[in-house]
């Protein structure tokens, strides 16, 4: 080959890069409107999708990537959304649209899902026994019928196997596989030591959706008796979707399962969950129509999207809480009056309007303002009152108070909040240093309980007030980073967990909330929000008792660009 020819070929290859930008051989922006291809194909062009669901494929990008899809392993929020779509729990919340079109799940009203009916009986020991009759048309994607044995296997794995799920089950009075009984092929009986609403709430979680026992048995090994390795990247559920393509950390393509018992109610034939790490790019791609639903956007970005007529913002305040922890064993913070002074100096309204851009509601306590049993009278006392703050600071007898507040460097809202709190504390003479930590360093420092003050968010699945208080404020809780301990509060929380009676729960919760207000282990700043932005033509955005974004209800009309 001559030198001239070599040079020409090299030049042509380089130029093709630029020329390609002007060619029209393939779809460009808005390429999401067509159906996505199957992961098993080898063809280079897009392939049509099949299965249930009407309309077009929906492309979703949340704040993180899908990593592990074993329901019993803790992973990212995007992973939770996938698990939610793959597994079919026995019960479901009832969803009704609010005035903004958001499907809101009832916290008290449940309906059968994989079960066609269920019956609740009190036990002689004061607990409850729930008998589920499974639907006749339940099938796994491979065509095998879903039986009570599969559900029993799933619960046994949750109780005895690897994963985090077993730590939550004692809250609903389940600690032994013996409490899960197979009556016959389609009848399952669950016995709880407690007679509380929380038992039913738990059974709506996707982590209790049936796993196909025969498949799991095939993939178990002597070192891995519960097939954890296999389930990390494979799906054995009977839910509305199956995994069509899975690239951990990058993209998951779900295909609606035509054999699903409720296939006609599934919104989209395909849902593609993509990882787009940069939130600004996520917002831009939503505005351009390249993706359909975006989550994990900072409040300032969401505010900008509100002006776009093609984008709809779904405010999804949760019962989670963003709080400022005050380590009781760290120097001056052992002084309760100082903690109260800080509590009254915090600029609650500014945090809501300037940091959260009005996208959420006040916290009003660790039992937040939208949570069952929240005491409004106590919640209203969390307000900025500089005179009260000065009074408590004087009462503390402390002078020249110098404190350090740690925040996550990756969280814009925490950094902005810290600056406002710093300014507000300065008004009463408290000097506050702000320390930005990487996510990993922050988690480690919190767990070692070495931080003095820190911003921290917590959300409890099931949204139970006693469950939330148990984690955030009881003496032995591993995430009580404030090292706060009040045995009286522990007793109230323990009683509340085991009590189903609404009036008693309200009474116990109010007493506990008053203790938390008086002792100030932490300052509740705002209710956590899981705001979602979507194209205006997308419907079916929901808000469940896990705050996981439901994928099965997402619908995109064919003309939605």
């Amino acid at each position: 080959m001559s030198r001239t020819r070599k040079a020409l070929i090299a030049g042509a290859a380089a130029l093709s890069l630029l020329v390609a930008s002007c060619s029209s051989s393939a779809p460009t922006a808005g390429g999401t409107s067509g159906p996505a291809g199957s992961g098993t194909g080898t063809s280079g062009e897009s392939t049509p999708s099949t299965g249930a669901g009407s309309g077009s494929a929906v492309v979703v990008s949340l704040q993180d990537a899908v990593t592990v899809i074993d329901p019993h392993q803790l992973a990212t929020r995007s992973s939770d959304a996938i698990k939610n779509a793959l597994y079919d729990p026995l019960l479901a919340q009832k969803f009704t649209p609010n005035s903004d079109g958001l499907l809101v799940g009832s916290m008290t009203d449940f309906e059968p899902r994989a079960a066609k009916s269920y019956k609740v009986d009190k036990t002689a020991e004061g607990g409850m026994q729930i008998t589920f009759t499974l639907r006749d048309d339940l099938k796994f994607p491979d065509g095998n019928a879903v039986t009570a044995e599969d559900y029993k296997y799933t619960f046994d794995r949750a109780i005895q196997g690897p994963g985090y799920v077993k730590s939550g089950l004692p809250f609903i009075g389940i600690t032994s596989p013996d409490q899960i009984k197979v009556v016959d092929k389609s009848t399952l009986q669950i016995t709880s030591a407690y007679n509380t609403q929380l038992v039913l709430t738990y059974l709506t979680f996707p982590i209790y959706g049936a796993m196909e026992q025969s498949v799991m048995e095939q993939h178990k090994t002597s070192d891995d008796p519960w097939a954890m390795k296999y389930l990390s990247t494979n799906d054995t559920g009977s839910g509305p979707f199956v995994v069509s393509q899975f690239d951990p950390d990058q993209q998951v393509t779900l295909k609606a399962d035509g054999t699903y018992w409720n296939a006609s109610k599934v919104g989209a034939p395909q849902v593609i969950v993509k990882s787009i790490p940069d939130p600004n790019q996520r917002a831009l791609l939503l505005r351009s129509g390249a993706i359909d639903v975006a989550g994990g956007l900072p409040p300032s970005t969401i505010k900008q999207l509100e002006d776009d007529p093609n984008v709809k913002i779904y405010k999804r305040p949760t019962t989670g809480v963003m709080m400022m922890g005050l380590n009781q064993k760290s120097g001056d913070l052992a002084n309760a009056d100082l903690r109260k002074a800080i509590m009254f100096a915090v600029p609650y309204d500014e945090l809501l309007s300037n940091v959260m851009q009005g996208l959420t509601v006040p916290a009003g306590g660790l039992v937040t303002s939208t949570m069952e049993t929240h005491d409004k009278a106590i919640g209203a006392q969390y307000k900025t009152d500089i005179a009260q703050a000065e009074k408590y600071l004087q009462q503390s007898g402390l002078k020249d108070v110098h404190l350090k507040l740690s925040v996550q460097a990756s969280d814009e809202s925490q950094q902005n909040a810290a600056v406002l709190i710093q300014e507000s504390l300065k008004k009463i003479g408290i000097t506050l240093d702000i320390d930005q930590l990487s996510d990993a360093a922050m988690v480690q420092a919190e767990s070692s309980k070495s931080l003095q003050m820190y911003l921290y968010g917590w959300y409890s699945w099931g949204e139970d007030p006693f469950y939330q208080m148990h984690f955030l404020a009881t003496c032995d809780s591993p995430i009580n980073y404030e090292q706060y301990c009040n045995p009286e509060l522990d007793k109230l929380v323990d009683q509340g967990v085991k009590t189903g009676d609404a009036a008693t729960r309200n009474e116990l919760s109010s007493k506990a909330q008053q203790i938390l207000f008086d002792d100030v282990p932490a300052v509740p700043l705002w209710s956590l929000a899981r705001t979602v932005a979507a194209k205006s033509c997308i419907t079916g955005i929901d808000r469940s008792n896990t705050a996981i974004l439901g994928l099965a209800s997402l619908t995109k009309p064919a003309n939605c660009k």
Partner: protein, 343 residues
């Protein structure tokens, strides 16, 4: 030449061994705990301990080090705590994406840098030379993440000239059958012209983003080297002999200036292999840089170690190739078995 090659490969291997030993201990000095990061949300210390045990993070440091070395010998870089997948497989599946991006960026940077740097050197102090100096300052000081966002906003969002900056192919398009892992090449091999065009379009914005700074670096080196060479006595002699301008430029000028230029291109390629993390984040590019970013965030030790080792191997390999090219360009290097310059 064989001795020269042996020396270069030997020193490269020693460098990799040094990195392998150092990286294990360095990542463990960083603040954070991978098991905590993954499991803390459960509120259950037993679960965190379970994760720690599962990934061997509860074993004594020396025992972990022994397993790490044993794994390396067998090509096993460990398992990611975040994804529960083997790190070597994850890195290898992402490497072609990074390499493809880096290769195109280097090619574009080298072509533009050599072309404009060479032209600028023809008339030092002229308009083109002045413009190149301005470009060098702007291009080398521009933050890639900012440039990436601006290019995306203007050329994708406002003008619609490029596709959405997500991934290596548009959503819904399947990759071509894998041969090299480069979608542009594999699609051509499979005769999938549409996919070829799609992959080039997806490459365009990130490549331009990387090439702006890359071009500035190469341009500066070419301009300086060429200015010196073109002012040398042997070039003046060639001019006196009435040789053609193009011949003087290419044979006497460019070839003699190529060793420092090659060094800068080698450095640029090495930087792009390990340092284009921000570009991979902005363009949601599924390469090893993005993998490293998430590994750092989650304190995923095995993933972080794997990334550093892979980058070290690539960088050392690149240096060996560059050194060999020195030998091709300059016979004195071959004979002395020492590189003229080290990168």
């Amino acid at each position: 030449m064989a001795r020269y090659l042996a020396i270069r490969v030997g020193t490269g291997a020693l460098t990799v061994v040094g990195v392998v030993l150092l990286v294990f201990f360095i990542v463990r000095v960083l603040p954070g705990d991978a098991a905590l990061v993954r499991g803390v949300g459960s509120g259950d210390p037993a679960y965190v301990d379970e994760i720690r045990h599962q990934y061997g993070l509860d074993r004594p440091l020396l025992a972990q080090f022994g397993s790490y070395l044993n794994g390396l010998i067998h090509g096993d870089l460990g398992t990611s705590v975040r994804t529960s997948m083997p790190v070597s497989g994850e890195l290898l599946s992402r490497l072609p994406a990074t390499l493809e991006l880096a290769v195109y960026a280097v090619v574009v940077s080298a072509m533009c840098g050599i072309l404009f740097g060479g032209v600028a050197a023809l008339r030092p102090g002229g308009i083109i030379d002045g413009a190149c100096r301005v470009y060098e300052s702007i291009g080398s000081s521009m933050a890639v993440f900012w440039l990436g966002l601006v290019l995306t906003y203007v050329f994708f969002f406002k003008l619609g000239l490029f596709p959405p900056p997500i991934d290596r192919l548009p959503t819904g398009i399947m990759p071509p059958p894998q041969v090299t892992g480069f979608y542009t090449i594999d699609s051509l091999l499979a005769g999938q012209w549409g996919t070829f065009g799609d992959s080039l379009k997806q490459l365009a914005l990130p490549v331009i983003t990387l090439s702006v700074g890359g071009t500035a670096a190469v341009l500066k080196m070419v301009r300086m080297a060429m200015t010196g060479v073109l002012a040398s006595e042997f070039v003046r002699t060639a001019r006196g002999l009435q040789l053609g301008k193009v011949e003087i430029f290419l044979r006497d000028g460019l070839r003699n200036a190529m060793i420092p230029v090659l060094t800068s291109i080698g450095l640029l390629f090495g930087y792009l292999l390990g340092g284009n993390i921000l570009v991979e984040i902005i363009f949601a590019w599924p390469g090893v840089g993005r993998y490293a970013y998430t590994a750092i965030q989650s304190h995923d030790l095995a993933a972080l170690q794997g990334f550093v080792i892979l980058t070290a191997v690539l960088y050392v390999g690149l240096n060996v190739v560059v050194d060999l090219l020195y030998g091709v360009l300059d016979p004195r290097v071959r004979k002395s078995a020492r590189p003229a310059m080290t990168s």
